[in-house]
């Protein structure tokens, strides 16, 4: 589904990703772990197409085509979803309005019929119920005054609604207490499917107790220095990044 080959990315003229390679197949969950400044967030932004993340070398192939020149909205329509580390507050725009606009924009881009208000309401209520999300939250402006846990659950709800084929979760565990973390992880696990790949970016092994990955990669200095199965995460937790990075170097 996704092949990243020797990817080099500059941000503000500084090379952050220095030859990153990663192969993700449908149905797989990959965890990317690494210390601060290793390029984890850069990876999530370059995959989703944010301005200012310039690809200077290598390639990103998604479903057989290059992603590099596509606008963020076109990537979204093709099934790429980024759950933000810090979901943005959008004052004055109701969560429902936002999500309906997003879903219909994607459907339109794919040449599908747009959903009318009534069908959308029915759909979003069902999705919210599956994820145990209070429908009251949907009436409020998007993320405005939401707690950290509510924001992250709202991201998962958007993911459930938009049904991406590649979901990137950028430090979804940050700022969550253990109860909120469980709720969010349950939501994510419910969305695991043979057609859907996930890249879970995190600092800590803790999240991976709940979202159990098929593969774990260690990102350091802008490239993946070690890959393994879920036991690698436990090893990291025990010995720290320094030891692993030093060993790989």
């Amino acid at each position: 589904m996704l092949q990243i080959k020797d990817l080099r990315v500059d941000v503000d003229g500084k090379e952050i990703l220095t030859g990153l390679s990663l192969d993700v197949k449908a149905g797989e969950v990959h965890a990317v772990m690494g210390p601060n400044g290793s390029g984890k967030s850069t990876l999530s932004y370059v995959l989703s197409g944010r301005d200012g993340y310039d690809v200077t070398g290598g390639s990103i192939t998604y479903k057989g085509d290059s992603l590099v020149d596509l606008d963020p909205e076109d990537r979204a329509a093709q099934g790429i979803f980024l759950a933000f580390q810090y979901p943005l507050e959008i004052p004055g725009v109701g969560s429902m309005t936002f999500m309906r606009t997003a879903l219909n924009a994607q459907r339109k881009a794919r040449g599908e019929n747009e959903l009318d208000a009534a069908s959308f309401m029915k759909l979003i209520r069902a999705k919210a119920k599956e994820l145990n999300i209070d429908a009251e939250m949907l009436k409020r402006p998007l993320n405005v005054g939401f707690s950290g846990g509510e924001k992250k659950r709202n991201e998962v709800l958007q993911m459930a609604l938009l049904e991406p084929t590649l979901a990137i979760l950028d430090e979804t565990d940050s700022g969550l207490d253990i109860d909120a973390l469980k709720l969010v992880a349950d939501g994510v696990n419910a969305l695991r499917s043979p057609d859907r790949a996930m890249i879970v970016i995190t600092h800590y092994q803790r999240l991976l107790n709940y979202i159990v990955p098929d593969y774990v990669h260690v990102l350091a200095g802008g490239k993946i220095v070690k890959s393994g199965d879920k036991s690698l995460a436990l090893e990291l937790e025990k010995s720290g990044y320094d030891a692993i990075v030093a060993e790989a170097a």
């Binding site: 020149d69 980024l82 943005l88 959008i90 004052p91 004055g92």
Partner: protein
């Protein structure tokens, strides 16, 4: 960066993009170019006005000659040559005004269709839509519908030129009673040369059965627009009035100086909503309407209420301060405003709330959005007079900047001469953030649509005060106005 090139090409493309930029081919009768007493006599004679009306105009003209243009607003424009404009243009044969839409010039009807005003449909749906349109085309009102239904309720809704003949006592009593002839340079000019506009009279205790709506449209080259609107709400009555305008594309700058006067007597309420979309000029700042408007409401009776809601997206220069005189005890004034400026547009707009009566309340919510190289100024006055015991005002001014070459300014004046008054003022300035835009785009929402969504969210508190039909149009306008503002 491809995004930068895209912006440049989008901005370049904007010149052709003005959605309502078309012109209707209709023969017109014009007064000779320039302004002197003969021009005024010509206008007055064209309308077959009584002597008192002509005298009123001439008096205004003589006073105008002594006045100078106000320069305090934060707007720059080339000197206006008042002798280089036409002051009267009427569509062909105004004398035999059409009795029904069938008699209306088909070109005119086509214009309305392009604007999305289904007049014919509205007539057919008369009982359903409940919207009356007194369509003002250039200077003379050529179509007035729904008169019968309004007449049943005793409501008078007609061109002011007609009211001069049919209800002279009301016109004499109220015209110039809220905006005096000598109020300001542009209001005085309007008093001398006003072409036409709406007259509304709601009798005592009557709740106007439908929203009254007027669409304005500048059509004749080099024609100044001098609309004059007068609305009187008798004791215990209610009316909601909608004013919307779009204009065809042209090169020359056009002068527009309208005057609107509202009178609310005891327990009466007037709600006045405007969507203003005059031609803003092209992407280089060439052309566009100069819009110098005087709008004022007088809460003359106790417990009366006047509410202004405006969405200002057009014009090259906007100079406009819809105001309320809170004369009656317990009267309420409201001002809800969205002003959007893009490219080289300049807007200096706000309100004046003058508290004279006891327990008077006013509320001001202003949302200014500036993009391109535009300048957007909120200028407001809250004045509490010594007899206005326990007066209250709440003001909130929010500015949103898109890009880094535009400006937002807030100039609030507060004069409180009574210690029991409570005046609150809040102001914020923010930038449309790249992060918010990216968040929307990541969810699949295209850039233009994302800007529209974010800006509509910013304006929500004002948009929700617009009547339903207008709110939808206004939300679309927000998008159209900001096309090409990001990249």
């Amino acid at each position: 960066m491809p995004a930068v090139d895209e912006t440049i090409s989008e901005v370049k493309g904007l010149g052709e993009k003005y959605k309502y930029g078309f012109e209707t081919q209709i023969l017109s009768e014009k007064a000779p170019k320039g302004l002197d007493e003969d021009t005024i006599r010509f206008i007055s004679a064209k309308k077959g006005e009584p002597d008192w009306m002509l005298d009123w105009r001439l008096d205004a003209y003589r006073r105008w000659l002594e006045m100078t243009e106000p320069k305090w607003a934060m707007v720059n424009y080339p000197e206006i040559d008042f002798q280089d404009a036409y002051y009267y243009a009427a569509p062909k044969s105004p004398e035999d005004a059409p009795q029904s839409l069938d008699e209306v010039d088909p070109e005119l009807l086509k214009t309305y269709e392009k604007l999305g005003i289904p007049l014919k449909e509205q007539e057919m749906l008369a009982g359903v839509r409940n919207v009356a349109v007194d369509a003002v085309f250039d200077s003379v009102s050529v179509v007035t519908t729904f008169k019968e239904k309004l007449a049943e309720a005793g409501v008078i809704f007609c061109p002011i030129s007609e009211a001069v003949h049919t209800h002279p006592e009301l016109v004499k009593k109220y015209l110039g009673s809220v905006v005096p002839v000598t109020d300001n340079f542009y209001a005085t000019l309007n008093s001398a040369v006003f072409s036409d506009g709406s007259f509304v009279y709601i009798p005592e205790g009557v709740r106007c059965p439908m929203e009254l709506s007027t669409y304005f449209r500048i059509n004749e080259q080099n024609t100044g627009q001098f609309e004059r609107t007068l609305i009187i709400a008798e004791k215990g009555s209610y009316v909601s009035y909608l004013e919307g305008c779009t204009a065809p594309m042209r090169d020359e700058n056009q002068l527009h100086a309208a005057v609107v006067e509202l009178v609310a007597l005891d327990d009466a309420e007037i709600k006045y909503s405007t969507v203003q979309n005059w031609y803003p000029g092209d992407a280089e700042g060439k052309g566009g309407i100069y819009n110098f408007v005087t709008k004022r409401g007088d809460c003359r009776g106790p417990n009366s209420k006047i509410s202004w809601t405006q969405v200002e997206t057009g014009s090259a220069v906007t100079w406009k301060y819809p105001s309320c005189i809170l004369r009656g005890d317990n009267s309420v004034g409201e001002f809800y405003s969205i002003a959007i400026t893009n490219n080289y547009q300049q807007a200096d707009t706000g309100t004046k709330m003058v508290h004279l009566g006891k327990n008077t309340k006013s509320r001001i919510i202003s949302k200014g959005i500036s993009a391109g190289k535009a300048q957007n100024t909120y200028r407001g006055l809250v004045s509490i007079h010594p007899k206005a015991k326990a007066a209250r005002n709440y003001t909130q001014c929010d500015s949103l900047l898109i890009g880094d070459k535009c400006g937002a300014h807030t100039v609030p004046y507060i004069e409180s001469r009574d210690p029991s008054a409570l005046v609150e003022h809040e102001a914020t300035t923010s930038k449309l953030s790249e992060e918010q835009l990216f968040y929307c785009r990541q969810r699949g929402i295209g850039e233009e649509e994302a800007v529209t969504l974010l800006v509509n969210g910013f304006c929500k508190e004002v948009l929700q005060h617009l009547p339903m039909e207008f709110a939808v149009e206004a939300q679309k306008l927000v998008g159209i106005s900001l096309e090409g503002s990001v990249g």
